[in-house]
């Protein structure tokens, strides 16, 4: 690293960096903290701790439904994204075709464009085609927004992939499809799953485009939070926020445990399958 006033320079950099991390994390802690306040308005400092708002949260059916909707849409969208994104990644890594650069940029665009654009675009499409807003359209829209993430993640792992095991599989009698399902897929699964988890998180948190597509019965958690911020600013919002934070962090950990277990089981399963 740097040599001249080593101790001091490192300290400055370290302190600065820690400060930035502090800046990034504090707001989250504040939200979680405030979910325990007995007051009706989240104010500082907190006089005591209570689980009152958590009880109210579980009793609020509309809220719970919104949460369930978010999870359901998220899971569906991440599955679809997983398939579409992976296929696209394979195409991009293994072949060259006309318009590849352009298509690549277009695929990545939902990641950068303001969500409102994607929102109004799909909304207009639904209107012109006389398709009603529905759970299905919500999934379609979320898939559009999240498959670029799977695309990027899977491509990264695919670039370093050694194709000789695919060739070996073919010399042993497996056709292209069998080779893909028995050999290629199991070996790129880690990145596909990572991408899908990414997609799930993005979907659960999606607000801007989603607001164009929801109906009262298909409201998702972020939509509910936003309306609560407008009309019903009680610490219940904090509870919802805390629940989402916990879910967002828990899901990848749980998934990792489950997947790791599943793969080990399959690996050591039977001989002569």
């Amino acid at each position: 690293m740097l040599s001249f006033p080593k101790i001091q320079k490192i300290s400055f950099l370290l302190v600065f960096t820690i400060g930035i991390y502090f800046f990034l994390f504090t707001p989250i802690f504040v939200v979680i903290l405030m979910s325990f306040t007995p007051h009706n308005i989240a104010s500082f400092p907190i006089p005591g701790y209570t689980l009152k708002w958590y009880r109210e949260f579980w009793a609020d059916t509309a809220l719970i439904r919104a949460l369930m909707n978010s999870l359901l849409v998220g899971v569906c969208a991440s599955f679809l994204s997983g398939i579409i994104g992976t296929l696209a990644a394979i195409a991009f890594v293994r072949s060259n075709f006309r318009g590849k650069q352009l298509l690549g940029a277009v695929i990545l665009s939902p990641m950068i464009l303001s969500g409102i654009i994607t929102g109004i675009a799909l909304l207009s499409f639904m209107t012109i085609m006389h398709v009603h807003k529905s759970f299905l359209m919500l999934v379609v829209g979320h898939t559009l927004l999240t498959f670029p993430y799977v695309f990027v993640v899977v491509q990264t792992q695919l670039y370093g992939f050694d194709r000789s095991i695919e060739e070996a599989s073919m010399t042993l009698g497996a056709n292209e499809l069998e080779t893909f399902f028995y050999i290629t897929l199991p070996n790129i699964l880690p990145s596909i799953i990572a991408g899908m988890l990414f997609a799930l998180t993005i979907s659960i948190d999606e607000f801007v485009a989603t607001q164009c597509w929801v109906t009262p019965s298909t409201e998702t958690a972020p939509i509910k939070i936003f309306s609560m911020l407008r009309f019903e600013v009680t610490p219940k919002v904090n509870v919802l926020g805390t629940v989402i934070v916990v879910v967002t962090i828990l899901v990848p950990f749980l998934a990792e445990k489950l997947i790791a277990k599943k793969m080990d089981v399959r690996l050591y399963k039977k001989e002569g399958k």
């Binding site: 050694d162 000789s164 095991i165 060739e167 070996a168 599989s169 073919m170 010399t171 042993l172 009698g173 497996a174 056709n175 069998e178 028995y182 050999i183 199991p186 070996n187 793969m263 690996l267 050591y268 001989e271 002569g272 399958k273």
Partner: protein, 359 residues
């Protein structure tokens, strides 16, 4: 009976010609090696036989059937890759059983056959291990077992030993050849290591820049190279350049460019005045401190350096008129005597040990 036949096979990658019009037939049960420097087209040829590459021109026949348009999984071949290409997510057993699964073989049968082949390669106790838990040598044997268990028509090996260390390589050479002979399978082997090719093959195909230079048994290749390239590639030789001075029946008198007079044996007729190259293998040079009985091809020389290498000693000798020779002597030949630097010696080369090549 010819098991594999190549007719006029050419492979182009854009403007680059990797394989140029090669034709040959491989007999049933034969162990044939493709030998040559990197980039000579040997691996490409192997991959075309496997079906992993398509020939630009020509036809490939396996067991009499034209297979150009047949994909690899329908060709009944067994292939061992340079990096073994074991499936990382499957155990040793599952790896070996894979080909049988693809052929819809029943579970019991799979169990029996995989068991047998693992016995053959001596890996029975490692059935349930994963590839990453195996050593290089073990992985190579799994790859071999996997390719053999399906009873392929042809066994194809792409430099299977090059990732192993020298000692292991020697052991595996013997093992592999032993297994091949036991099973009796037609084998095509690609390597850049001449010791492998010479020790294992029934026939060797020397390739250079996409073309076949010479085909022959190891002995033929070694003793009767047809071209300079082969003479230089195989074994270690000294090369002298000169002109034919006189021809007496089978014997030819040659004067090198540096003035040395040598007698050699020529298989075909050579005319006086013709330019030739003379190759003499490093082990064919006799060194002595006193005169021997023969009077032909005896030259005075000086030992410039002697390098003791255990079984062999390598000498750099400078002859009286300037020619430098490299000679190798092993302990048995030299009766454990070593010549020292700066000692004067007599160098003797038997006429029949000189390989003549038009130059």
């Amino acid at each position: 009976m010819i098991d594999v036949e190549l007719q006029g096979i050419t492979k182009r990658f854009g403007d680059y010609i990797a394989v140029n019009n090669i034709s040959l037939g491989i007999e049933k049960g034969e162990f044939l090696s493709f030998l040559g420097p990197s980039g000579c087209g040997k691996t490409t040829t192997l991959r075309m036989i496997a079906g992993l590459e398509e020939p630009s021109e020509g036809s490939i026949f396996i067991k009499g059937k034209r297979v150009n348009n047949v994909p690899p999984f329908m060709r009944n071949i067994g292939m061992v890759f340079q990096n073994y290409a074991l499936f990382p997510h499957k155990s040793v057993f599952e790896n070996v059983a894979y080909g049988l699964r693809m052929r819809q073989v029943g579970k019991k049968e799979i169990r029996r056959r995989v068991g047998e082949i693992l016995d053959l390669v001596q890996l029975s106790n490692l059935e349930n291990r994963m590839p990453r838990q195996l050593s290089g040598g073990q992985q190579q044997r799994v790859a071999l077992a996997r390719a053999l268990v399906i009873n392929p028509d042809v066994l194809l090996l792409d430099e299977p030993l090059s990732n192993l260390d020298a000692k292991l390589r020697e052991e595996m050479r013997v093992e592999t050849k032993k297994i091949q002979q036991e099973v009796g399978i037609t084998t095509i082997y690609v390597t850049h290591d001449q010791v492998e090719a010479l020790s294992m093959s029934d026939r060797i195909v020397i390739m250079k820049e996409g073309e076949i230079i010479q085909i022959g048994s190891p002995k033929e290749i070694y003793e009767a190279p047809k071209e300079s390239f082969v003479a230089e590639f195989i074994g270690q030789s000294n090369c002298l350049v000169g002109k034919v001075i006189a021809v007496k029946g089978e014997e030819v008198e040659i004067r090198t460019d540096t003035g040395l007079m040598i007698s050699a044996r020529a298989g075909e007729q050579l005319e006086e005045g013709k330019h030739v190259k003379l190759y003499v293998r490093v082990e064919s040079i006799e060194i002595s401190e006193r005169h021997s009985l023969n009077s032909k091809n005896v030259f005075e020389g000086l030992i410039e350096s002697a390098s003791f290498q255990g079984w062999e000693t390598v000498y750099y000798i400078k002859l009286y008129e300037g020619t430098r020779l490299v000679a190798k002597k092993n302990r048995r030949e030299s009766r454990r005597n070593l010549f020292e630097r700066d000692s004067r010696v007599l160098v003797f080369i038997r006429p029949e040990d000189l390989i003549l090549m038009p130059g």
